[in-house]
């Protein structure tokens, strides 16, 4: 019973942020719920052994991101690049429209590129953090971020003025240190 209670507490504390992360990764409500649920199932299984893990939320995040990127590998890409990139048939200042354009462009990145962007800019993590979560080097995070941003600019040029430039990133890293 105690085991269930502590798991329940963990879920309550992190469910919201994890589901939001899942949604940004998958871009789809049902897939996001599937993803979060599969993370939960894996964690219940080894819950007793997870006592000693310090940052359970980081652990859950790592499972989620890995699960997601390997899902995509195994299932093959269900991504359907639409024939044409979204056209700006609107005033580009309209932020709701820009957000839709961003969402669409985001879904056309590779899963790993998307993961890097979301962890870096939405969860506001350092490159070192992201590298730890993805299980890759800081250099890979840097290059993936660079490619992802370049691809976003190519897919949706109207977003370009709002996206961080490489200098910005250097600067942000400086500030953190």
């Amino acid at each position: 019973m105690d085991r269930d209670a502590s798991f329940r507490a963990f879920v309550d504390a992190h469910q919201r942020s994890m589901m939001r992360l899942a949604y940004l990764l998958t871009g789809e409500v049902h897939l996001a719920e599937d993803l979060w649920q599969s993370v939960l199932v894996r964690m219940i299984g080894r819950w007793p052994k997870l006592r000693d893990v310090d940052h359970l939320d980081a652990y859950a995040r790592r499972i989620m991101v890995n699960q997601y990127t390997s899902w995509r590998r195994r299932r093959g890409s269900g991504e359907v690049p639409s024939a044409e990139p979204p056209h700006p048939a609107h005033s580009p200042e309209d932020s709701a429209v820009l957000r839709i354009v961003l969402h669409q462009a985001l879904m056309r990145l590779t899963p790993k590129q998307r993961a890097v962007l979301v962890l870096r800019f939405y969860e506001d993590r350092t490159e070192r953090d992201v590298a730890g979560l993805l299980g890759c080097s800081v250099g890979t995070v840097k290059s993936q971020t660079h490619h992802a941003l370049a691809r976003l600019r190519a897919l949706a040029p109207e977003l370009a003025p709002y996206l961080p430039t490489p200098d910005d990133q250097e600067h942000r890293e400086e500030v953190r240190r």
Binding site: M19, L24, E33, L40, V118, F121, Y122, Y162
Partner: protein, 353 residues
């Protein structure tokens, strides 16, 4: 926070809040149970295989593996089909293993059409056949007793046409007077649609000479000048790069449910579970196609001489699994209007209701 981070947060706001705790617990319990069931099943399979080998080595008689809980009466089916877009769900189900999931092995037998397969189904060499509804109604009108077990195809404009080689002088249906026209098979929906188009142009069946040729031969023979025009269905219109004189499934025939799967009534009575399993697998493929019509283009090269780029260009309709009296009545009315049927159509009977 940067603009990007802020916008991502706004996108994340779209995610509804839902508590998955209970669901996850249940999923885990289910998975454990499945693991147990899987282990048990694996043990059973190993035992069956071992026993089979033992029996085989003793007297050479293989023991059929059995499925729990009312398996289909037949494990292997011969299914008659035709090499056109209509057959796609069969091959989708076959390729995706949907039949296997239902415990049946399907052997597709590609023929020219229902007039060929109906006698074979009656004789028992084929179990279930792809049949245009006109052929089924005609067969029953001639004293046979066939049942439609599932819907298969609903036509769309452009999937069936009268075509001519690119250099031909034939421009309209009227120009067909006195000409030789190839049809894949007589006395089917295809030839009835041709007849309807001829009559609209003020001609009759007697004004043209009809010649039967299987689909794969028509293109070459038409180019060699052995006939003046032909009735072709997709993908053969696209494959042969022919010029269309008249769309046969436009106008009054638009959106007609043309083809289903049928079987002899006696066979259906004796194999209810096989029919149900076959229907489930086929319907699953039809749902898949409804979600993503591209799978039709993917399977086409499996059973026709279609190249992938040709498959990408051709026209096709939809694949409803359901066929009701309303849809079938339209086909019956069409056949009756051209005096193909002697008696009235017994819709409930042919639909097995």
């Amino acid at each position: 926070m940067t603009w990007l981070g802020e916008q991502l947060a706004r996108i994340a706001d779209e995610m509804p809040e839902r508590d998955l705790y209970i669901l996850a617990l249940e999923a885990r319990r289910r998975r454990r149970r499945n693991l147990g069931a899987f282990t048990a099943a694996a043990m059973a399979v190993v035992t069956i295989i071992a026993v089979t080998f033992l029996v085989q080595s003793l007297d050479g008689e293989p023991e059929a593996a059995t499925r729990p809980s009312a398996p289909p009466e037949l494990s292997s089916l011969k299914v008659g089909t035709a090499p056109t877009v209509e057959a796609a769900p069969l091959f989708v189900a076959w390729r995706k293993g949907y039949f296997r999931e239902e415990g049946i092995t399907v052997e597709p037998v590609v023929t020219t059409g229902a007039p060929v397969t109906i006698p074979q189904a009656e004789a028992g060499t084929l179990d279930i056949i792809q049949a245009d509804y006109v052929s089924v109604l005609l067969a029953n009108d001639h004293g046979k007793d066939f049942r439609i077990v599932s819907g298969l195809y609903r036509s769309a404009p452009g999937d069936l046409a009268v075509v001519v080689p690119s250099g031909s002088e034939i421009r309209t249906m009227r120009d067909l007077k006195g000409k030789k026209v190839m049809v894949p098979i007589l006395r089917t929906f295809e030839s009835l649609a041709l007849l309807a188009a001829l009559e609209r142009a003020g001609l009759s069946e007697r004004d043209v000479v009809l010649v039967e040729r299987p689909y794969p031969q028509i293109g070459a023979e038409l180019r060699q000048g052995r006939a003046h025009a032909a009735v072709l269905a997709e993908p053969w219109i696209t494959v042969n790069r022919m010029r269309k004189v008249q769309d046969l499934t436009a106008g009054t025939l638009a959106g007609l449910h043309t083809t289903g799967m049928a079987a002899d009534a006696r066979w259906v009575r004796h194999h209810p579970r096989t029919v149900a399993a076959f229907r489930r697998a086929l319907a699953k493929a039809q749902r898949l196609i409804a979600d993503d019509p591209r799978v039709v283009r993917e399977v086409l090269p499996m059973y026709t001489k279609t190249l992938p780029d040709e498959a990408a260009r051709m026209t096709f309709g939809t694949y409803p699994a359901e066929i009701g009296p309303k849809e079938l009545r339209k086909v019956g009315d069409l056949a009756q209007a051209h005096r193909w049927l002697r008696g009235p159509v017994d819709l409930p009977r042919v639909l097995g209701n």
